[in-house]
């Protein structure tokens, strides 16, 4: 028990320390943002990295997320709730929660691992040193474009994922659950609130920041060869996923209870 407590204490301390240093990194990146336009080719390059190869992942995840939500919703509604509420349930859970969070977890992990492994390898093979000595700041040349790309692309992919998930839910409902197409679409329109979508996108915007910061941070701080790169990548992905879940909770409170709340 004491071991568990000290471990937990250490973990919290470590998390806070990383958060502090992560905040410094964020500040350093933000300071470089004015250069973003001049360095747009690097940003495009990174956006490409996010987009390419993510699509099959997004497609599969989203279709099944939508479909599963439909099946589960129908099971829970059973005879108590009219089927016209099916569309509402699916769209609200997808827009507010499932779309942003699952995209951040699935696409984000992939991206975070990519950032951490690439930057970590550059660190251990002295490429970051080489850049520094050439008077090119790695934060400007490597971190800022990756950060911007993630912050722009994760919400974009989330929009796409939202659409595909709704479609997946529709397919499952109409094809397998005896729900008519018109009932489903009526349900979608019912209680539609643009704030749901906007709130979800604000979340995914912040998730994009978390994902890239985690990958960049652990990549830049890699020590010790191939093993170090492996460790850094692992830590970055775990850190990113945990932070997303914690941030999701906090954002739920801030956005949907305080800002959008009555």
């Amino acid at each position: 028990m004491p071991i568990l407590v000290t471990n937990l204490g250490g973990l919290v301390l470590l998390a806070l320390m990383h958060t502090g240093r992560g905040a410094l990194l964020l500040r350093a990146i933000v300071v470089q943002l004015p250069h973003a336009w001049r360095m747009r080719h690097l940003i495009y390059e990174q956006m490409h990295v996010v987009a390419i190869g993510s699509m099959p992942l997004v497609l599969t995840t989203s279709v099944f997320v939508g479909a599963v939500t439909a099946v589960q919703a129908v099971y829970q509604m059973q005879a108590y709730v009219p089927m016209k509420f099916l569309g509402v349930m699916i769209s609200k859970s997808v827009f507010i929660e499932l779309g942003p969070v699952l995209t951040a977890l699935v696409v984000g992990s992939r991206l975070c691992a990519n950032y951490a492994a690439e930057l970590g390898t550059m660190k251990v093979t002295e490429q970051l040193d080489a850049m520094n000595i050439m008077a090119i700041e790695p934060v400007r040349y490597l971190a800022m474009p990756r950060f911007v790309a993630a912050v722009l692309m994760i919400p974009t992919i989330t929009i796409l994922a939202n659409g595909i998930a709704i479609f997946g839910g529709y397919l499952a409902s109409v094809l397998t659950l005896d729900v008519t197409s018109s009932t489903f679409i009526e349900g979608l329109r019912l209680f539609y609130d643009p704030l749901d979508v906007i709130g979800g996108l604000i979340k995914s915007f912040i998730f994009g920041g978390i994902i890239s910061l985690s990958g960049i941070f652990f990549g830049f701080n890699t020590e010790g060869g191939a093993e170090g790169v492996g460790r850094a990548t692992m830590t970055a992905v775990v850190g990113s996923c945990l932070s997303i879940l914690v941030a999701d909770y906090l954002l739920a409170i801030v956005l949907f209870q305080i800002v959008f709340g009555r």
Binding site: T125, Q127, D129, M131, I133, M134, A135, I136
Partner: protein
């Protein structure tokens, strides 16, 4: 175990009264430890403007670490370093970056950016810091590659090059901005004798024609004797000996003798 006692002279005095007025690089009392391992332990060294200083010393003695301190890629634990009278410890990032533009650095492992082609590697500094057009950058990059004997590799990725070719591409990258100072970490290791000698000639040419100040870390004694104005030996965290090539050849300093003769017996020990 060697039972012979060697009497060694104390390290040479390498300090100037006023390092802030010294043209060149002055290193005073630099110490650096990695965990429990004390790598540099009060190292003093002077590098005069325009000279080629060769640093010799056994593997793991901290030669690469010393080079990195000069451009502050590593933060020192103790001591001070002046470059042309400007103390670099505590320098603000912006100023440090300005200062670094005067330096070319050849890494021991070349450290080419492996997501960029050789041409982009060599030209990166130009495209970032000079107003040259893309074509001009490319032309200059190819010119530098030709100087190190590399042709038709511009559009290859570093992974497609041999070790020695990477080393030379790294050298081309180090000289592309015509720096005032070049720090070479083992420029000829891994190269065949003929290429090595061509690189020696290039180092000499850069010094003679452009007045470059160089610090060369090397184990390659023929190359060291050929290019050096002065040599310094690093051991046990300190510069144990400095002298001209002639002085190195004729010294009876036991450590230097052992090193240049490649003898397993001596004050340096074998392992």
């Amino acid at each position: 175990m060697d039972l012979v006692e060697y009497t060694l002279p104390p390290p040479p005095d390498q300090r100037v009264p006023d390092p802030a007025a010294f043209a060149g690089i002055a290193i005073e009392g630099v110490s650096k430890a990695f965990g429990p391992k004390q790598v540099l332990d009060g190292t003093d060294l002077l590098i005069h403007k325009g000279e080629t200083l060769v640093v010799i010393g056994r593997s793991g003695e901290g030669k690469s670490v010393l080079l990195k301190h000069i451009v502050r890629l590593l933060e020192l634990d103790e001591g001070r370093i002046w470059i042309e009278g400007e103390e670099i410890t505590g320098l603000r990032t912006r100023r440090l970056m300005e200062l670094r533009k005067k330096f070319g650095f050849l890494f021991q492992g070349a450290a080419l950016f492996d997501s960029m082609t050789i041409c982009q590697n060599v030209g990166l500094m130009l495209s970032e810091h000079s107003g040259l057009s893309e074509d001009q950058v490319r032309a200059r990059a190819c010119e530098c590659l030709a100087m190190v004997g590399l042709e038709n590799v511009e559009d290859k990725l570093p992974s497609a090059l041999s070790g020695g070719m990477k080393k030379r591409a790294g050298l081309a990258r180090a000289i592309v901005m015509e720096p005032e100072y070049i720090l070479y970490d083992e420029p000829t290791t891994g190269l065949d004798p003929i290429t090595s000698d061509a690189i020696n000639d290039l180092i000499i040419k850069l010094q003679k024609e452009l007045g470059v100040t160089s610090i060369v870390v090397t184990h390659d004694m023929p190359s060291a004797f050929k290019i050096a104005d002065r040599m310094a030996m690093l051991s046990r965290g300190k510069i144990q000996f400095t002298g001209t090539v002639e002085e190195v050849r004729t010294t009876d300093h036991a450590m230097v003798r052992q090193f240049i003769e490649g003898n397993a017996r001596g004050p340096l020990g074998a392992f």
